[in-house]
C-alpha cells in the first residue's frame, strides 16, 4: 500500500514538474493572460458562484427541515 502511494505521489510530482517545465520552455499565450490578470477575474467569479451554490444547498436543507418539522406536527405519535 505504502509503495503504491509513494509511486503515485512520484508520478504526480513528475507530471507537475513536467508541466511547469513545459510552461516555461514553450512560448504560449499563457503569459498574456496571466499578465492581464484574467485569472484573478475568473477566480473572483468562481468565488461568487461557489457562494451562491452553497447558499442554494443550505436553502435546500432548510426546506427539508421545515418539511420534517411539519410532518412531525401532523403525526406527533409517529
Amino acid at each position: 500500500m505504502k509503495k503504491l502511494i509513494n509511486s503515485l505521489l512520484g508520478l504526480v510530482l513528475m507530471v507537475l514538474s513536467l508541466s511547469a517545465n513545459a510552461q516555461s520552455d514553450v512560448p504560449m499565450a499563457d503569459g498574456l493572460r496571466s499578465e492581464g490578470k484574467i485569472y484573478v477575474v475568473v477566480a473572483i467569479i468562481l468565488i461568487v458562484l461557489a457562494g451562491l451554490v452553497v447558499y442554494l444547498f443550505l436553502m435546500d436543507r432548510k426546506v427539508k427541515k421545515l418539511e420534517d418539522l411539519l410532518a412531525d406536527k401532523n403525526h406527533p405519535t409517529k
Binding site: 493572460r33 484574467i38 485569472y39 477575474v41 475568473v42 467569479i45 468562481l46 458562484l49 451554490v53 442554494l56 444547498f57 436553502m59 435546500d60 426546506v63 421545515l66 418539511e67 411539519l70 406536527k73 401532523n74
Partner: protein
C-alpha cells in the same frame, strides 16, 4: 430533484465559467471577446423557454386533473422562467450596447422578447387579481397556454421573417453568424444544460416552500374550526 443532478449542474456551471472565460473563441471583428457572452446570455433564454414549457405542461395537467400540486408547479415554473427571461433581457441589452451601439435597438428579437415577458407578467397579475383559489388556478392555467402560444412566434418566428441584427434572425437559422464552431459548442451546450438544471432546482425549492405554506394554512384552518 435527485442529488446527483444538482451536483452535475454545479460541476457543469464551474466548467462553463472557467471554460467560457479562458478557452479559445473565434476572433471576429466588433464582437471581439464579447463573443463569450454567448455562453452566459443565450442559456438564460434556453432556460426560460424550457421552464415555460414545463409550466404549460403542468397547466394542461391541471385542466385535465385539477389538483393543487399541478397548479403550484405551473406557477413556480413560470415564476423562475420569468427570472431567467429578465436576466436574458438585461444581459442582452448590455451586449447590444457594445455590439449594436445602444441598449435598446428596437430590434425585432428584442421587441418580441420584451412583449413575451410582458405577456408572462400579465399571468401573475391575473393570478393576483382573482380571489377564489380554484378560479384563480383554472383561469391562469388557460391563460398560461395562450401565453406560451404567444411567446413562441414572438421569439422564434417573427424575428426570422423580418431583418434583424440578432443572430438566428432575418432568415438565419441558429448561430451561423457566430461561427458557433465545435470549440464553442463544447462550452455552450453544457451551459444550457447546467442552467436548465439550476432553474428546475430552484423551482422545486419554491414548489416545496409553497407546499409548506399551504400545509400551515390548512393546520390553522383546522384549529379555528
Amino acid at each position: 430533484m435527485k442529488t446527483w443532478l444538482k451536483i452535475l449542474a454545479v460541476a457543469l456551471l464551474f466548467y462553463v465559467h472557467i471554460g467560457g472565460l479562458l478557452l479559445d473563441v473565434p476572433r471576429l471583428n466588433i464582437l471581439n471577446e464579447t463573443i463569450r457572452a454567448l455562453y452566459f446570455h443565450v442559456p438564460m433564454w434556453f432556460g426560460m423557454v424550457t421552464l415555460f414549457l414545463i409550466s404549460v405542461v403542468y397547466s394542461v395537467k391541471y385542466l385535465v386533473n385539477p389538483s393543487v400540486a399541478n397548479d403550484r408547479k405551473a406557477v413556480e415554473f413560470a415564476n423562475v422562467g420569468l427570472v431567467f427571461g429578465i436576466l436574458g433581457m438585461l444581459t442582452g441589452m448590455l451586449w447590444a450596447n457594445y455590439a449594436w451601439g445602444s441598449f435598446w435597438h428596437g430590434d425585432p428579437k428584442q421587441n418580441g422578447a420584451a412583449i413575451a415577458l410582458l405577456v408572462y407578467l400579465a399571468y401573475f397579475i391575473l393570478r393576483g387579481s382573482v380571489e377564489n383559489e380554484e378560479q384563480k388556478a383554472r383561469l391562469s392555467a388557460v391563460y398560461n397556454i395562450f401565453a406560451f402560444a404567444a411567446m413562441i412566434p414572438l421569439i422564434f418566428i417573427i424575428p426570422r421573417l423580418t431583418s434583424s441584427l440578432h443572430p438566428g434572425s432575418g432568415g438565419n437559422p441558429g448561430f451561423n453568424m457566430y461561427d458557433l464552431d465545435n470549440r464553442m459548442r463544447m462550452v455552450f451546450y453544457p451551459a444550457v444544460i447546467a442552467w436548465i438544471l439550476v432553474g428546475i432546482w430552484v423551482t422545486t425549492l419554491r414548489v416545496r416552500i409553497r407546499a409548506i405554506e399551504d400545509k400551515i394554512h390548512d393546520l390553522e384552518d383546522e384549529k379555528t374550526h
